[in-house]
Symmetry: C2
Subunit: 332 residues, 2 copies
DNA sequence: CTGAAAGCGCTAACAA
DNA sequence: TTGTTAGCGCTTTCAG
């Protein structure tokens, strides 16, 4: 089943097992000639260190777990990709966990994995703050798209981003916007709504929130109907999936986008550029979020628990496309 | 750092370590009362079994590695999702590896992971057959979207699917099709071309292949230009991404889809339904492919190497949308 | 610079 | 049914 061990190499090379171990783990504590010899024998035998044995003793597993709240959301692809690349650059393995929007599932999986990984990066975790603190007590933890006082995080600058959105809509003549809210336990949803509301206040336009909605295309129908009901001419959806569903439903109901209603989403997913009309949306360097989160985690794993964990905020960019336009007419 | 061990539990519960071990691993070999007692003490202490220690001894890691040739391709999301769900159902951990279209990277990662996982599922592997056999010698292996004699695999029925495509195009009056081929080392690309060609032959219409193209939207420009050059009125792109790029480029050049040219893709990704015109494409139960692959792997891991590994073929479905239509006019 | 030996946490004989 | 004990493969003191 399993291949040659350190003993086989040691015997074959005529040295002690500790020397073989050193040749791999701390090459500078072995003479160059023995190291070369050992490595040569090892590769001839096809020896590969057993990560479990190594982890058992050292407590370091060279593995980080990434938990995403819903793997089917295209938004996470970039996050995953960034995280995976950064992990691999340090020869770490990335374990992917899908929480399917269930806090319970998220918690169970994390607990199961905790003894086997060096740390967690959580994307848009749906867990309550208290649970996050418990996790952080066990393992290094970095949050993505969520902030929690005293804990490391990487987020996009939604305060500024939402301000940009409102400014954009206001400049187009809109005087009322409605936010189609995301899941109830989503930090992101709360943050977006807070930022939109204060921006609206500052710019002197009305803002209401409807929801919560599960951020999927299929939910767009209900969301669109509610939005129409509200009478607002500008709709900001919790994410692009929901926005796409809204646009589809509006078309179905004969409401023209952007002539009658402007629609703005979040995330700038791949499909935002393909749908008709294309979607105005708040994007950002999502892959960098994933990358940065793993980066922080790997540093934290080395250091003793820092007292001021980094809270990184990356800039957003408002991508203007076809779904937002000047307010044309009052609606009834 | 690490929590309580089996020793702590044993001492606290007044039993031997082996009893604690048994209470967790083989509950029926311990009396009900001791088991309950042990489990109670364990949970009071917050004990969690260390997977590494377990793996070290048993050789089973409760982990499967999934390798995808390019994680940014939305097609894989469903595969990943299915695989992840199936793995979790058996309390297995899914390690995700991105090969970024590089056989070299794919190989290295697999070798690194081999001693730490129970097996591999490879999605659209770009490795040569020989390498796949070497991997299968080390660990149980299941291929997705690729077949190799004597090895387990799960694929969609592209022979029938491609026949459907050609039939569809022929019934619309097309007499010539061009296939925009995928990567050179892609088994899928070769299979699709082979199936398309023989279907075309059988149905008495012409078929040519152009390429290879990297299956991304950005490659659609070059692919479209080449397709136009070929004079064919029907274009079958290696996948939906490429097809979307092609449609975009055709629009740019004033070629109408489907009036002047019909375009068909593969995979039925989420965006295929959103772009304009929407994309006719060959889809299938991708999540089931992922699910089935892991299922086979988990069974294989238990059994001694079966002599006839399963080669599962799942049905495709041709999804008719706006990008394919009746041939209207001859083109020059 | 190298070797001997003691574990890391757990499981699996073998006894009792 | 339960306890004792010997490792799984590796790292890491501690001697030499």
């Amino acid at each position: 089943m399993s291949g040659p061990t350190i003993y086989d190499v040691a015997r074959e090379a005529g040295v002690a097992t500790s020397t073989v171990s050193r040749a791999f783990s701390s090459p500078n504590r072995v003479s160059a000639s023995t190291r070369e010899h050992v490595l040569a024998v090892a590769s001839r035998l096809g020896y590969r260190p057993n990560p479990h044995a190594r982890a058992l003793l050292s407590g370091r597993h060279h593995t980080v777990a990434m938990v995403v709240s819903d793997i089917t959301n295209p938004h996470y692809f970039e996050l995953i990709r960034g995280a995976e690349m950064r992990a691999r650059a340090s020869e770490y393995t990335l374990v992917l966990v899908n929480a399917e929007e269930s806090p319970r599932l998220e918690w169970d999986q994390i607990q199961r994995l905790a003894p086997a990984v060096d740390g967690f990066v959580l994307a848009a975790s749906r867990l309550p703050d208290e649970n996050l603190r418990q996790i952080a007590d066990q393992r290094p933890l970095v949050l993505m798209n969520r902030e929690l006082r005293g804990h490391a995080s990487v987020v996009l600058d939604h305060v500024r981003g939402c301000h940009q959105i409102v400014e954009h809509l206001a400049s187009l003549g809109h005087t009322d916007l409605v936010y189609l809210g995301g899941p109830r336990n989503s930090w992101m949803a709360a943050t977006r709504w807070g930022a939109l509301r204060s921006a609206a206040l500052a710019l002197g336009i009305g803002a209401r929130r409807i929801g919560p909605f599960t951020p999927k295309v299929t939910q767009g129908g209900a969301a669109a109907d509610a939005a129409i009901n509200s009478g607002a001419t500008a709709v900001v959806a919790h994410n692009d999936l929901l926005a796409i569903g809204v646009v589809q439903r509006l078309a179905q109901r004969g409401v023209r986008v952007p002539d009658d209603v402007s629609v703005v989403g979040f995330d700038n997913i791949f499909a935002a550029d393909l749908c008709t009309p294309s979607l105005t949306t708040l994007g950002g360097p999502h892959a960098d979020v994933g990358r940065a989160a793993v980066e922080i985690l790997l540093q934290a794993a080395g250091t003793t628990r820092g007292l001021d964990p980094p809270q990184v905020v990356l800039p957003t960019e408002l991508v203007l496309r076809g779904s937002s336009g000047a307010r044309r007419a009052a609606r009834g």
